[in-house]
């Protein structure tokens, strides 16, 4: 059964004066996707996300959310979305509980105080509801931001750089929260991030945009599998390993070498045979690590 399209963006364009922030961005997000939205700084990610939330009016192109446009169904669409844009900002002079109450009141859903308490517990802020935001750390604000996005049980969650400025522990916490939303609540999530490894770990689909244009879109694993892999090998005899590889895999290319380490570019499907050939020919393999990561793919796409 074909999945419902939650976000459909076609040829989106937006200028600020003479500066064209978004030139031609198109992508589609289906229900249940965790969709990675990637691009270098200044690529137009935040502008596109702001267009998705009706914060910015595009000059051209089409945006449909849940099959509807903002022209006729703004309130209906926004009542189904929860979002954090860049960083969650709150009223510093109010407590976490009061802040959530304020946003709950205009969320389009009926949210009780006990539900707010449950949400604070869900994001790990139980017992801190009465504290003023002014004393919160960046990580606590991010978690409160996620609580704010989930209050009204939205179908779609848009997170723009949710891990920016967080320490490693904070990044792991946010990642686990997103995974819980995906696994326990089957939310559709659009995730913009500079942490490419995060996208690789969490997202099932992605789009890469650069200089205001969408470059590539698809399943994360399909896009990565289509690329040539670099395998990092740690062996007892580099020269012998090179000889074995050259004789068995004519398309293999050596891209790096040290005393007992070797890097070889090879198709992913040949990796098991590579390991087998080395062992059968008496080469001791201490480590075999596929090095192709989303970062490499991203850099290749952006630089091309």
């Amino acid at each position: 059964m074909e999945k419902e399209t939650v976000i459909k963006v076609e040829h989106l364009a937006k200028s600020f004066g003479s500066f064209q922030a978004v030139k031609d961005v198109s992508f589609t997000v289906s229900r249940g996707d965790v969709f990675g939205f990637l691009g270098p700084n200044g690529a137009g990610k935040s502008t596109t996300i702001r267009c998705l939330l009706s914060l910015i009016k595009p000059n051209a192109g089409k945006i449909e959310l849940f099959g509807k446009s903002y022209t006729n169904s703004r309130s209906e669409i926004l009542s189904k979305i929860g979002s954090i844009i860049e960083k969650p900002d709150f009223y510093k002079y109010l407590s976490a509980q009061k802040n959530l109450e304020i946003f709950a009141r205009i969320s389009g859903a009926s949210v009780s105080k006990s539900q707010i308490g449950e949400m604070l517990e869900f994001v790990g802020l139980a017992g801190r509801g009465g504290d003023k935001i002014g004393g919160f750390s960046h990580g606590m604000k991010q978690r409160l931001g996620i609580a704010q996005t989930l209050l009204h049980q939205p179908d779609l969650i848009i997170l723009d750089e949710p891990t920016t400025g967080l320490d490693p522990q904070g990044i792991v916490e946010i990642r686990n929260l997103i995974l819980r939303l995906k696994n326990e609540q089957n939310k559709t999530i659009l995730l913009s991030s500079h942490q490419l490894s995060e996208i690789e770990l969490i997202a099932n689909r992605m789009v890469i945009i650069n200089k205001g244009k969408s470059i590539v879109e698809g399943e994360v694993q399909d896009l990565l599998n289509a690329q040539e892999l670099v395998v990092h090998l740690e062996v007892d005899a580099v020269a012998k390993a090179k000889q074995v590889i050259s004789s068995h895999f004519s398309n293999a290319q050596f891209v790096g070498e040290t005393a007992n380490e070797l890097e070889v570019a090879i198709e992913k499907s040949q990796v098991p045979n590579l390991n087998k050939a080395l062992i059968e020919n008496g080469v001791l393999v201490f480590a075999l690590e596929p090095k192709r990561k989303l970062e490499d793919f991203f850099m290749k796409i952006v630089q091309s």
Partner: protein, 280 residues
């Protein structure tokens, strides 16, 4: 949704320290005036009435609560706009400065409702400030100085109003004074829709009041055509209720001009906020 967000705006205003700063400053200013009048009010009265002593003799409690209230209103109606703008000038731009405007505008509430709720909250704050002014100026002053006839010095001369003829005049005067302050509130919220920082709209509001007041007081023919339409020209219309007879035509004209200003400023703010790309 408009009512819910208006309630939100009250919650925010009540939680902001600067909201109490305005009320505190007003209380302090009035306390200083009351103290000064209690300490040396008779000298002040002698100075004012000295030019009439050749032709009139003044008996009874001239320095009473009614006169003190009039003096307070006259003195503070120039300064209270700053206290109003201090809170209302921050209502939209403060959201941009804090970054909360992104969260607010991405909720299922129309931008028109956001703007209107801020105007309503600003109006209620201004009303509270006006009521507090009335309470301190009239009730407290009467409690301290007692009551009596009101002697008002106008450009036409001295007007003596009987004690029983005063309270309804104050009631109507405070309504017009509220409308004047409401115009300040609306102006600062309107300017707030154009800014992304808190201080700009507050300073701009005061600059406009000063500029218009100067234009209104300059006896230069080139400004004669615009003077009747400046809101500052009509901010002292509350005083007309202490004339005899009351120039109702002039007061109604002032009320209409102030109301038109309010409507225009709300429309401008709404159009601007609706068209605004939220990039902050």
């Amino acid at each position: 949704m408009l009512l819910k967000n208006t309630y939100n705006e009250f919650v925010k205003i009540l939680a902001k320290p600067r909201s109490y700063l305005g009320i505190g400053a007003l209380t302090l200013l009035i306390a200083v005036i009351l103290f000064a009048m209690k300490a040396d009010g008779s000298s002040f009265i002698s100075f004012v009435t000295s030019s009439f002593e050749q032709t009139l003799s003044f008996n009874g409690n001239i320095l009473n609560g009614n006169l003190i209230a009039f003096i307070i209103l006259q003195m503070l109606i120039i300064h209270i706009p700053l206290l109003v703008a201090l809170v209302t000038g921050d209502l939209i731009s403060g959201e941009a400065a804090m970054g909360t405007v992104r969260m607010l505008a991405s909720k299922p509430i129309s931008r028109t409702s956001i703007v209107l709720s801020k105007f309503i909250a600003g109006a209620v704050y201004t009303l509270i400030l006006t009521i507090w002014l009335g309470f301190l100026a009239l009730i407290v002053a009467k409690w301290i100085f007692g009551t009596g006839d009101l002697i008002v010095l106008n450009s036409d001369g001295l007007v003596i109003l009987q004690e029983q003829d005063i309270i309804w005049r104050y009631g109507l005067a405070f309504i017009v004074a509220f409308l004047s302050l409401l115009t300040i509130s609306t102006l600062s919220i309107c300017l707030s829709a154009f800014a992304d920082n808190s201080i700009g709209p507050i300073v701009s509001t005061m600059a406009i009041i000063i500029l218009f007041t100067i234009i209104g007081s300059l006896d230069v023919s080139v400004f004669d055509t615009i003077k009747p339409y400046l809101f500052t020209t009509h901010m002292a219309s509350w005083r007309s209720f202490f004339e005899d007879p009351i120039p109702m035509g002039k007061i109604i004209q002032s009320v209409v001009i102030l109301l038109v200003h309010n409507v225009i400023l709300v429309v401008i703010a709404n159009v601007k906020f609706n068209k605004k790309d939220i990039t902050s």
